[in-house]
């Protein structure tokens, strides 16, 4: 058997030991410390886009995303300072204000990770002007629907489509606030020749942006699908 070297570090003052190569996020989770995330999903390549999992590392003026940073021996990580809590609230507020996030009329109400985070972090108001965008809703597919007004650009759908399903139907177009998830070369979903209709994009969407027509979010959402398939593939 090959020996796995173990790294010892401190997370929120607690001494923990994890295998080398573990991310701060995983090391914290395995030791009962939950760091809020949105774009990260086990089984997918870390993205580092939502900036919710930012943590402080003693000795560095910079903040690090826990989902992408691997542990180092002797590292001292802080996951819940006042500053970080404020930053997380700010991130949720900004996401809420960016597009249309009206929980009461959303298919993902009560099954939405953004909503849950807002509750958990105590975001009781949005101090920025909210934007009611009029992005396109594409329901041309037989059963998959994308409402881009609810999209938070976490790219989970793109990564699951690329890495797990292996077809890379979904990708981004444009940049900045005009960034949008598209199918193939910006075709309507119904015309996409590469989409296999595997539904994994809808299963992992943290909000109500991609959903299945006529199905409740309870039935659709299945965020462990990527991890499940990745683990199964390893067994082969």
């Amino acid at each position: 058997m090959t020996e796995i070297s173990v790294v010892s570090l401190k997370i929120d003052g607690v001494q923990v030991s994890v295998p080398e190569g573990t991310t701060i996020l995983k090391a914290a989770k395995d030791n009962g410390i939950l760091i809020p995330t949105l774009c990260d999903l086990e089984g997918l390549t870390p993205y580092g886009g939502c900036r919710l999992c930012l943590v402080e590392v003693t000795g560095s003026p910079k903040l690090f995303t826990a989902c992408t940073t691997q542990v180092n021996p002797g590292m001292e990580v802080t996951t819940n300072s006042v500053r970080l809590k404020n930053y997380r609230k700010m991130a949720v507020q900004l996401l809420m204000s960016e597009r249309v996030h009206m929980c009461a009329v959303c298919v993902a109400n009560d099954h939405c990770e953004l909503q849950a985070l807002a509750n958990q972090l105590g975001v009781d108001h949005v101090s920025f002007e909210r934007h009611f965008t009029r992005e396109t809703i594409d329901s041309s597919h037989d059963f998959l629907v994308i409402d881009r007004n609810r999209c938070i650009l976490c790219t989970r759908c793109i990564r699951v489509c690329d890495k797990i399903e292996g077809v890379h139907t979904l990708d981004l177009k444009q940049r900045s606030k005009d960034t949008e998830v598209i199918m193939d070369l910006d075709e309507s979903w119904g015309d996409s020749c590469s989409c296999t209709g595997c539904r994994k994009c809808a299963k992992v969407c943290p909000v109500g942006a991609i959903y299945i027509e006529g199905e409740s979010a309870t039935q659709t959402k299945h965020r462990d699908v990527a991890e499940f398939i990745t683990e199964r593939r390893k067994r082969k």
Partner: protein, 549 residues
């Protein structure tokens, strides 16, 4: 080709040039071309023939002389007589008087000695003097001798040691020590290794790298081959904006010429060293100049930055160790190798050595491309080199470091040009842009304008930069249309701090700099806009909707 061949080319070229008594250098850089530089070049060639002096006078197409505001610029050697705003019509007069009779035409001469007096041209030493389309010109000035020195008598460790001892810091903006970067990539165990030269200069009003590539492309290529030898890379990419056609043309020609005489390819100078070079064109995204986004773009993917660590020195292009270096840093390498790190240390400051190229623009008498030693003050740049503010207007602020730099007022003009001093006053070295603003500029509007630029150019990946900047800009829209409230300033400060600390890449981390510096130095203007609904400069409140632009 080996060392003897290079020496022979240099001697032949020098002899060839000595045969001419005069040399007319016509700047055909992107500053002068719009003013008709190519027509002027043609007119000189015709006039020289007409007067029958083609045997004593060589007309050469060159890169930028530096005086971009008075183009087309023409430099006549010997004596470095610089003619300004030359038109095809007055070419005959210049040739007749200066070349035939030996009397310079005073009325067309550029009379501004101070513009050049405080400059120190190392990187731009060949700019405006050699023909970028001829490799012989570059070799005759000692070009590729540094490469020969590296390959023939120095070890890769020795080359890195020389660069480390020079104290050279990255000229792309962040100022990471170049030698240290090289040794990090050299130490990485994976192969193949790559070099990416960053020429994606996308900031408004900045043209230093572009002009360098147009004027002296071989310096960049030589720097890359030397770096390749030092770190053990055999493949390099120059990432250049497709909006820079002249620079692309110059580099393409230079690469082809270098390949032809085996300075690129296998067995360079008869040694075992291999190095190959390719151009990669940017599609116009400012963010593609960011260290990790450039890698994505070179790989052919969407230019989106990714978090570091892992650093490109270990996992860069296709997950292999990659050296990413600004072209100006690379162009410094040849003469550091040739003259030694200790010699290089005699320029600039002890802890910040060498020179830096800046594009000096805005409300200033002598805009242009300048190269100054580190440690020069902003006041010297603006008043001694730049010649102050035109039309009797008053100086108001200077934006140092491009769209994400800082707006600095009169009171901090004694700040020195070096990475740390600029940082302490709220600006950054950035890509080397200095934009001077006069009293007609509104600082609130200026901050709004640059925020707008950064929003447009944000890649959209991370929340703070994408959503944060957009909200900040809305606050500016309110302030500049008379709907501002006093708590807007607090929100601006709070949001700016968040964007700086939480953003993924350098774009977001520096984008609020103009906001924070204007709030720091020109707070009263914000208050004036919010409380009195007045804009002293008369820029804001002019439109019913949207304000400003």
């Amino acid at each position: 080709m080996n060392l003897n061949d290079i020496q022979r080319v240099a001697e032949e070229e020098n002899e060839f040039q000595r045969a001419y008594k005069y040399r007319i250098n016509v700047c055909c850089s992107s500053g002068c071309v719009p003013f008709g530089a190519f027509k002027v070049l043609k007119a000189f060639e015709d006039a020289v023939k007409e007067f029958g002096v083609e045997n004593i006078c060589k007309v050469a197409r060159t890169g930028c002389v530096g005086t971009c505001s008075v183009g087309p610029a023409v430099l006549v050697d010997p004596g470095e007589y610089l003619y300004q705003s030359v038109t095809p019509e007055n070419v005959r007069e210049i040739v007749q008087s200066h070349i035939v009779s030996g009397v310079p035409v005073k009325k067309y001469l550029y009379v501004n000695e101070s513009y050049f007096r405080k400059q120190q041209r190392l990187v731009l030493r060949n700019a405006g003097k050699i023909d970028p389309t001829r490799i012989q010109d570059y070799i005759s000035t000692g070009g590729y001798f540094a490469l020969a020195k590296c390959l023939l008598i120095m070890t890769p460790q020795g080359v890195i040691q020389e660069i480390v001892s020079s104290g050279l810091r990255g000229r792309g903006g962040a100022g990471f020590p170049v030698g240290q970067k090289w040794s990090l990539v050299a130490r990485a165990s994976n192969t193949p290794k790559y070099i990416v030269a960053n020429l994606d200069e996308g900031d408004p009003g900045v043209f230093a790298n572009r002009t360098l590539a147009e004027a002296d492309p071989h310096a960049i290529i030589e720097g890359m081959i030397i770096a390749g030898y030092a770190i053990g890379a055999q493949k390099g990419y120059v990432y250049i904006r497709s909006e820079y056609p002249l620079a692309i043309e110059a580099l393409q020609k230079a690469i082809a010429q270098a390949k032809e005489i085996n300075l690129l390819g296998d067995n360079i100078l008869g040694t075992q060293h291999k190095f190959d070079l390719e151009l990669r064109f940017g599609a116009g995204a400012f963010v593609a100049g960011e260290e990790t986004a450039i890698l994505m773009s070179v790989e052919g993917r969407r230019a989106q930055p990714r978090p570091r660590p892992p650093y490109p020195a270990n996992q860069g292009l296709w997950n292999n160790p990659t050296l990413i270096q600004n072209v100006e840093s690379l162009a410094n390498a040849p003469f550091i190798i040739l003259n030694g790190g200790t010699w290089f240390k005699s320029f600039g400051l002890p802890n910040c050595t060498g020179t830096k190229c800046f594009s000096l623009t805005g409300e200033i008498n002598n805009p242009g491309l300048i190269e100054v030693p580190m440690g020069i003050t902003l006041r010297e740049i603006i008043y001694d080199i730049g010649g102050g503010i035109p039309n009797g207007k008053k100086f108001k602020a200077v934006l140092v470091g491009g769209p994400s730099g800082g707006c600095l007022p009169e009171s901090v003009l004694e700040a020195q040009i070096d990475y740390d001093s600029l940082k302490s006053v709220g600006a950054i070295m950035g890509s080397g842009g200095i934009v001077v603003l006069n009293e007609d500029s509104c600082m609130v509007d200026t901050a709004r304008y640059f925020t707008d630029f950064c929003i447009e150019e944000s890649c959209g990946k991370c929340t703070p930069c994408r959503a944060g900047l957009a909200r900040v800009k809305e606050i500016f829209d309110k302030i500049t249309t008379g709907e501002g409230e006093l708590n807007n300033i607090d929100i601006l400060e709070e949001a700016s701090e968040y964007i700086i600390n939480a953003s993924l890449c350098g774009l977001g981390q520096t984008a609020p700099n103009p906001i924070l510096t204007t709030l720091r130095y020109f707070r009263e203007e914000y208050l004036e806009h919010i409380v009195n609904k007045k804009c002293k400069a008369g820029v804001c409140f002019r439109h019913e909707n949207g304000g400003g632009k």
